[in-house]
Symmetry: C2
Subunit: 338 residues, 2 copies
DNA sequence: ATCGCATTTGAAAACGTTTTCAAGATTGAA
DNA sequence: TTCAATCTTGAAAACGTTTTCAAATGCGAT
């Protein structure tokens, strides 16, 4: 591959001059400029971005750590980040941590080694103090989907407690009184928050919390399926289920339908996230909207701004509020005022 | 951030020595090695991968171009590539082209500028000759999901014609005689191939091809929904539909159910791709399995091999064969021998 | 013609690595 | 003790850029 020297030689000028026309960082007389341009064209010259990044100490890359590369949830997160980063002429490097501490660590190391200008991080496995150590680095970093105490201004997160509260309250307002919660078995803050929201709604309706009505499994479709089977087998007279995410809801619905239960006639289901799947299930899933695309976009906007204030500043709060999306998976048992 | 000189100074050795212990590329006496190690630790030193890539002309990165960053199909493709590339200690840089010629071009340029060691490309928009020009570069490149004549050994692709044939034949063998095809309106080879497969199966059963039974829209859920509405409105006595992909099938099913038609009792549906969604729909979708994860993994294995023969060689053929996955969206009208 | 000033140019240093090369230190055998 | 052979080491060049700085050129006014 041709380099800048080849171009300089071909155009009969110095490398400095070539550099100047590439970046037009200074004026060059028209005929030399033209000579350089044609030489670049002829040699199919493309500047080596590594060399450029080395001297500029700017790679024009934003690093992004997600949980998995293939999942509607992270797909939306990636899309949000990609969108705004590309709009600013920069690029994204994505890595996945698979909710595994070592992989998350490696991924972040990789992004840092690559000299990304900024980072957007979704981490479930890394402990707070390790993330704080990152935040203390002097590179723009935003943590997505997690709140670290004392670092609220660097975290773009959702009010999980309120989301779970909304979902549960919705079920209660539709007359349900025996509501199971299918949660995640990975020890992570949003899991705990959602249990709190569930309990708070229950309390508001003076319904005692029953530990037997919550079962925790791996937060995917299969986990939801198994958990639902467990709930059914416990025979607690449950008329509704609230799940940690839509994938689990899908698994739960499948399990119910396969075992001859009708949804929502016999058992109502509310999910969480509102991934695309939710609209496609039958019955269409009533769920809590998690604006993950918007959150990714906001995170990206913030790091870009920190990097270079010529990018639009984000004045929005970093805390997002979930919303109930009513579809068809909840039956109205006996309406009650909220 | 500390650089190699700082480490050298701290350890009281030359940069060459530090480099040697980093890569252990030559022997260093134990006490100096230790001194270097502790200095690196103390300074939290991390080699600058850009500088390293510059001198080695090896970035240890594989570039990947996909259609969209958020879609189950490309999610699986990315996951396949990521998996094998990570296993070899290298990394992936993903870009998305959104099926748009300019964006695809830009993305590839970016990956090349970044000096990726190898590329895996999924392109729908770029013309053959432009891709050929890429393949002629002396860097390992594999094209996924597209067959370029004369370059079969560089293309990992699916037998689309056969997939469509399989789907249509399945419907025919279940007694369906009036089968609509909901196709893609983007002019791309696999679209045409699938129409051919559909026609071939029809011919085999001596059923005349009826242009009115095929409608083409944008290949997503909404497109499927609209296309299905169109098919219904044409009132052609259709008892089954085969769609270009699962998302369209989902849209079609939603449309049918919303307008009071039962699936599969009134109308049977067969999709294409077998993305995760297919298992979750109700009824579960009978579809054609597109082994995209495996194809991504194979493409990655090949470029890695070309890069450095120490990675396992791929002896498999580059052409994948689709398979029918029977689930519940097809009704048996009147069995007929295949 | 000459002077001064502004514009355009190229040489060289810098970015942070790896690697080559030659020199210095160490070892073992005679 | 000496010599050769082997190990270990550091200086310097290289990778492909950008940028600083000083020199060269061009221009208008005198």
């Amino acid at each position: 591959m041709a380099n800048i020297k080849d171009v300089a030689k071909a155009a009969g000028v110095s490398v400095s001059t070539v550099s100047r026309v590439i970046n037009d960082s200074a004026s060059v007389v028209p005929d030399k400029r033209q000579a350089v341009l044609t030489a670049m064209e002829a040699l199919q010259y493309r500047p080596n971005s590594l060399a450029r990044a080395l001297v500029n100490s700017r790679s024009d890359c934003v690093g992004l750590l997600v949980g998995e590369i293939d999942s509607p949830f992270f797909g939306a997160l990636m899309a949000g980040v990609h969108h705004v980063v590309h709009d600013s002429g920069k690029h994204v490097i994505v890595t996945a941590g698979y909710h595994h501490i070592e992989k998350e660590r490696d991924s972040i190391r990789f992004l840092l080694d690559r000299r990304c200008d900024a980072l957007v991080i979704h981490s479930k496995a890394l402990p707070d103090d390790e993330l704080v150590r990152l935040l203390e680095l002097d590179i723009p970093i935003i943590i997505v989907n997690r709140l670290i105490k004392g670092w609220e201004h660097r975290c773009v997160y959702l009010d999980n407690e309120y989301g779970a509260y909304l979902a549960t309250r919705h079920l209660l307002s539709k007359g349900h009184r025996d509501i199971a919660y299918i949660g995640t078995n990975i020890a992570i803050e949003d899991g705990a928050d959602r249990v709190h929201g569930y309990r708070r709604a229950l309390e508001e309706f003076s319904i005692p919390f029953n530990e037997r009505k919550v079962v925790r499994t791996f937060p995917d479709e299969e986990g939801g399926h198994n958990a639902m089977a467990e709930v059914v087998s416990r025979d607690l007279g449950v008329t509704a289920v609230f799940t940690y995410n839509d994938a689990m809801a899908a698994g739960a619905i499948t399990m119910l339908q396969d075992s001859g239960h009708r949804v929502p006639e016999e058992i109502s289901v509310v999910g969480f996230d509102d991934v695309i799947l939710a609209r496609l299930l039958n019955p269409r899933l009533t769920t809590i909207r998690y604006p993950v695309y918007e959150m990714g976009a906001l995170a990206a906007r913030i790091v870009l701004h920190q990097l270079d204030s010529k990018f639009a500043r984000a004045d929005q709060p970093l805390r997002f509020t979930p919303r109930l999306i009513e579809r068809q998976s909840v039956r109205d048992v006996a309406p009650v005022a909220v």
